[in-house]
Symmetry: C2
Subunit: 170 residues, 2 copies
DNA sequence: CTGCTACCTCAAGCTTGGTTGAGGTCAAGT
DNA sequence: ACTTGACCTCAACCAAGCTTGAGGTAGCAG
């Protein structure tokens, strides 16, 4: 058995539930590293599993791989990361996560109001989060709703007219 | 002025903050519709702004465009949607949003524990959400973490060994 | 009539996060 | 020696959600 404390790519895949191709991909992106055998095969140290765990958790928080990579690169090189290292890293996402939860909650509350009034006026309802730049740091790629001007103003006041000036400002 | 209650694409873009190209895109995907002038230019009815508002909100909830499209297609054709219509639609995302908030909260709590122990053991920590299939319904495209087996088991028990059998199943 | 801007179409390109496939090697079992 | 399975590389492809660019039209001002 290859219980030599080193793992093959297949073993890592099986134990992590991450496809081999994804592991290659992560390696290409610098998220994990491997030693090569004489025959050019990858061998992973056990803490790679922890890296992968971190990657998966981070993805679920909604962090893009690039950011995860940057975070991981803060781990000590040539020393197996210890508890504290991982704790420090995990703590990084904590506030990110808090933010995202708060955003969604605001969105939900707004939406609830909106459901009540049915107007979908974004002045008063859901999207009315001016300065909500961190918003939509959603997973995947760009939703990037914020940077321009997040706010649509469909309904003026009553139901569905609204000609409240072309105050769109360039 | 084209205050004829119909809007040009540029006006809609300005008022919604959505790029003209994106509006074309939405139209191609069947999320919005337009009338054409004799000269083949698009003219939008005012409720289009509300549709766009709905689209943006939905995206922030993390709903993919295709799903949003399906939802929008439930709106009455050839009758301007009223409050109730919009309210019904918005309500659709309500539970979705609740789910996502709950997921993130669980993730946060798990992560908090994890920060304490620093082990990043996904048995006990953050990712240990078996059967969490709805998870990672994140925006953007696929994070699709769940369908296979979401759980990595990096650390056995102590710190960084863990050879708890190759119980990886299949 | 010229010129300008806003508009049109269609195709190609971009980013993220991978997967799929072709063509070839390594390592182990018989 | 041969076969099998796991592994290797590299390029191509996928889906979402757009943007960019080329080449052309519409419509208004002067």
């Amino acid at each position: 058995m290859s219980q030599n404390s080193e793992l093959t790519v297949g073993q890592v895949s099986a134990r992590s539930g991450v496809a081999v191709s994804a592991l290659h991909f992560y390696e290409a992106k610098g998220l994990i590293r491997s030693r090569r055998t004489a025959g050019n095969q990858r061998r992973y140290s056990r803490d790679t599993l922890r890296r992968i765990a971190f990657i998966r958790v981070s993805q679920r928080v909604g962090i893009p791989l690039k950011t995860i990579q940057r975070a991981l690169s803060a781990l000590p090189d040539e020393r197996t990361p210890n508890r504290e290292d991982w704790a420090r890293l995990s703590a990084l996402w904590r506030s990110e996560l808090d933010d995202r939860i708060r955003q969604l909650q605001r969105l939900r509350d707004g939406l609830t109001d909106c459901i009540g009034c049915g107007c979908l006026s974004l002045d008063r309802c859901a999207l009315a989060n001016p300065g909500d730049v961190l918003a939509s740091q959603g997973p995947g790629s760009r939703l990037m709703v914020a940077p321009r001007r997040d706010c649509v103003q469909p309904c003026g006041d009553g139901d569905e007219d609204g000609r409240e000036a072309e105050a769109v400002g360039a």
